[in-house]
């Protein structure tokens, strides 16, 4: 029963696989196929396949495309060779995050900016209102399928299917090749902390591509993975989620994303606000913490305390299937984001002890750029 939600070209495939479907950002997506914990663990031990076709793909062309993107995004595109990608942010004048994106310099001179599904319309309007000169945005989201294969066996599964040899493809690089005969852009990127690939293809090829990838992955134990495990995987890898950890009310400096803000590249929207914040030091920071004992996961909005005083709130939290502990992230007063700091998270009326960690919850195996 279609409740007015959007569906990707793989909707029928998910239903046929027995997926439980939920509403996500206006889309009807699979949250899990079997067990969230089993799907999560399979990605860490062998591989998982994800339908991410709801995400947005914006292509930019024109003489002034690069200059416009340099002005609208915070990272420095000059560092990108053809086929290379980087994580970046669209900020507003106050330095607040409009969206977090991946941007590619494609071999043919165009740029591809991949945006969060829930922000497609917002981002398109934001960018179009600010484009100057010879620069055109072509929103291909509705015509593009995106399938991710993530996990230590990803390259073994995918390489036999591609015309190009993926062994030499470095992290945050992409190439155009056929996958089982389907033309695609294959990118060594992902959102799980594991090695993996994100495959962009034409929407009309989605079902065929999904089926052939599922078949190729079967001997390796690859399973389809829903949005539920996608969230536990990314949180273990300490990757922020827009809408939870990032919003227009948070800046990249507060969120620990200063590496994606290049002040020396020239003017960009939000530069002066962010520079001022950098000089003063952000008043709050996104901390990652582990609960000392089992007692219920931290959840969005739960209060964070220190010495009985409220010092922040939780933005993401879950049970970690790998650590078998409860973990979370939240903004706290800047000095308290220091690793080793003991905090308390209020879970169902009880202040439960937690400790701030350094780096990721689970060490990552993703390939470096």
């Amino acid at each position: 029963m279609n409740s007015g939600l959007r569906r990707t070209p793989l909707y029928e495939a998910h239903v046929a696989l027995g997926a439980r479907m939920i509403e996500f950002g206006g889309w009807e997506m699979p949250v899990q196929y079997t067990s969230l914990i089993a799907e999560h663990r399979t990605v860490r031990s062998s591989a998982g396949i994800f339908d991410l076709s709801h995400m947005g793909e914006f292509y930019f062309r024109g003489e002034d495309a690069e200059a416009n993107l340099q002005r609208l995004l915070t990272n420095d595109l000059r560092r990108l060779a053809p086929g290379q990608a980087q994580y970046s942010l669209i900020c507003n004048e106050q330095g607040g995050i409009v969206d977090d994106v991946i941007v590619y310099r494609l071999a043919d001179g165009r740029f591809l900016v991949v945006v969060n599904a829930a922000n497609i319309d917002k981002d398109r309007a934001w960018i179009e209102a600010r484009l100057e000169g010879d620069a055109r945005l072509d929103d291909r989201s509705a015509h593009t399928a995106l399938i991710a294969v993530q996990g230590p066996k990803s390259e073994e599964i995918l390489n036999p299917l591609t015309a190009a040899d993926l062994a030499g493809l470095a992290g945050f690089h992409a190439l155009e090749t056929d996958v089982g005969g389907v033309p695609a852009l294959v990118s060594r990127t992902g959102y799980t902390g594991e090695d993996g690939f994100e495959i962009y293809a034409a929407a009309e090829d989605a079902a065929r591509l999904w089926t052939l990838l599922l078949e190729a992955g079967k001997p390796y134990g690859m399973v389809p993975v829903g949005l539920g495990a996608r969230d536990t995987l990314r949180l273990e890898a300490r990757l922020p989620l827009y809408g939870n950890d990032l919003s227009e009310k948070t800046t990249p400096l507060e969120a620990g994303l200063g590496f994606a803000v290049k002040f020396d590249k020239g003017e960009f929207v939000g530069r002066s606000a962010l520079l001022a914040q950098k000089e003063k030091g952000p008043g709050r920071r996104l901390a990652a913490f582990v609960m000392n004992e089992r007692g219920g996961a931290p959840r969005y909005g739960y209060r964070i305390l220190h010495g009985g005083r409220e010092v922040g709130s939780v933005t993401s939290g879950t049970f970690s299937p790998t650590l078998e502990q409860e973990i979370g992230m939240g903004y706290v007063e800047a000095p308290l984001a220091e690793p080793g700091t003991e905090l308390e998270v209020e879970v169902r009326g009880r202040a439960r002890a937690a400790v701030v960690i350094k780096g990721r919850f689970v060490p990552g195996q993703a390939k470096r750029a």
Binding site: V31, Q32, S35, L36, I37, G228, T232, R294, G295, G296, A297, R299, T318, F319, P321, E326, R348
Partner: protein, 127 residues
């Protein structure tokens, strides 16, 4: 999936009437399926008084937190300590080793007010 000898509530709990005026309670197959993998259970204390319709335990899955409502009023006579180490028993055996608590019932007529298996199946649209 919904044993005929058990009673049920609209909030997806089941009750098994036991000797000595007690009922054993847990959550139904439907409830555990909706929740997904259970990772934590907040159990009540033995001896605690509970009121019918009030939350007396919390079952937490990776994605959601769910209050469990006392189907009858009474006193907690026993809790399933196995759920501390293996909360997934609720998914694996919702009517067996995944039981949550045993309640000493104050008013036996409250049991009559619960649903039969057929009525519960109708309630969840599986009649």
């Amino acid at each position: 999936m919904y044993p005929a000898e058990l009673r049920y509530t609209k909030e997806h709990e089941w009750l098994a009437v036991e000797a000595g005026g007690k009922v054993r309670v847990g959550i139904t197959f439907y409830a555990q399926q909706e929740l997904g993998d259970v990772v934590y259970v907040d159990l009540p204390k033995e001896g605690a008084e509970v009121e019918a319709g009030e939350s007396f335990a919390v079952v937490e899955s990776v994605k959601a937190v769910s209050d469990i409502y006392a189907p009858v009023s009474g006193r907690i006579a026993a809790v399933n300590a196995d759920l501390e180490e293996k909360p997934e028993l609720i998914n694996e055996e919702p009517y067996g080793r995944g039981w949550i608590a045993v309640i000493e019932v104050a008013d036996a007529s409250e049991i009559e007010a619960t649903l039969s298996a057929e009525e519960y199946k109708e309630h969840i649209g599986e009649a």
